[in-house]
Amino acid sequence: MSELDDLIAKGLIEAVESDGPMAEQWISDARRHLEAAQAIQTMDPSGAYVLAYDAARKALAAALLMIGHRVRSRPGSHQALAQYAKVLARETGEPALEQFDRLRRERNRSEYGSRSFGKAEVSEAIRSAGSIVEACARQT
């Protein structure tokens, strides 16, 4: 059983019809989020972080949609995407994808008031999310 099959067996990911145009749309949305994140990072660091994270999340969803899958909409769906990011990192040899789980965790912690973001963290998050988006774009 492949690692992706394992995520499907656990009910985290489900099969849907592959949709290239939609995947491309999500990739271009993700690129626009990154540009916006860059533009607002000084004014609103945590907003920029959330946007960068969302860009990476959409790009991963696009890569998954290309192969005819999506994460199931239920609690833990972002975590399921993080597991898929690790699978995809190994399959494609794109180490940038390994960074997704860190972005997810830190974004979660900021949502619950457990942290705030410094400038260097935000620009690094935008850079990492950018690498994730481009790695996913190469899959679509």
């Binding site: 912690r109 008031g113 410094g118 400038k119």
Partner: protein, 167 residues
């Protein structure tokens, strides 16, 4: 085995979990647990068919022993060594529950790094330590100016709570 029980365990461990985590035979674990229990350092209780072992928190040496084991075998020495290889770090410390001696080993570790190191490098060395200690490490990065100049709710909480200084 003491480090597994006193530093890393988030709940009581069965003998087979201890054997697995320490790479010791069940016979060896059994003998060691007997000895530690006789000396009052650990306690155990039976749950179903398992015997669950945990530190004896009312032992007079519990606090000192846990602190000694954490300093020598926990994430502290690993992080100190990992961060020493990176330039630009003015200060680094563990904060949050992990730094609080009154709390049981929490699920994750909060690390503050102050200075202007390359963030990618910090995340890389920290993720190697994460793999070694088997729990997530949350890194918070601040420049010296940001740390000195900001006083939001998060920063105030970090400043007022216990910390373990690394750099």
């Amino acid at each position: 085995m003491l480090a597994e029980l006193f530093v890393f365990a988030q709940q009581p461990l069965s003998l087979s979990q201890l054997a697995q985590r320490t790479g010791t035979s069940m016979g060896g674990v059994h003998k060691e647990v007997e000895r530690l229990e006789r000396s009052g350092l650990v306690i155990s209780k039976t749950s179903g068919r398992s015997r669950l072992v945990e530190p004896n928190r009312s032992s007079p040496v519990y606090t000192e022993l846990r602190s000694l084991l954490t300093k020598s075998m926990g994430p502290e020495p690993l992080l100190r060594e990992a961060l020493a290889s990176i330039g630009g770090i003015h200060e680094a410390f563990i904060f949050g529950s992990w730094a609080d001696p009154d709390q049981m080993a929490p699920h994750d570790i909060d690390l503050m790094v102050i200075g202007d190191p390359d963030p990618g490098q910090v995340y890389n060395v920290v993720s190697a330590v994460e793999a070694e200690v088997g729990r997530p490490i949350n890194v918070v990065l601040r420049s010296e100016d940001e740390w000195a100049g900001t006083a939001g709710a998060f920063e105030r909480a970090v400043r007022s709570r216990p910390r373990i200084q690394l750099v």
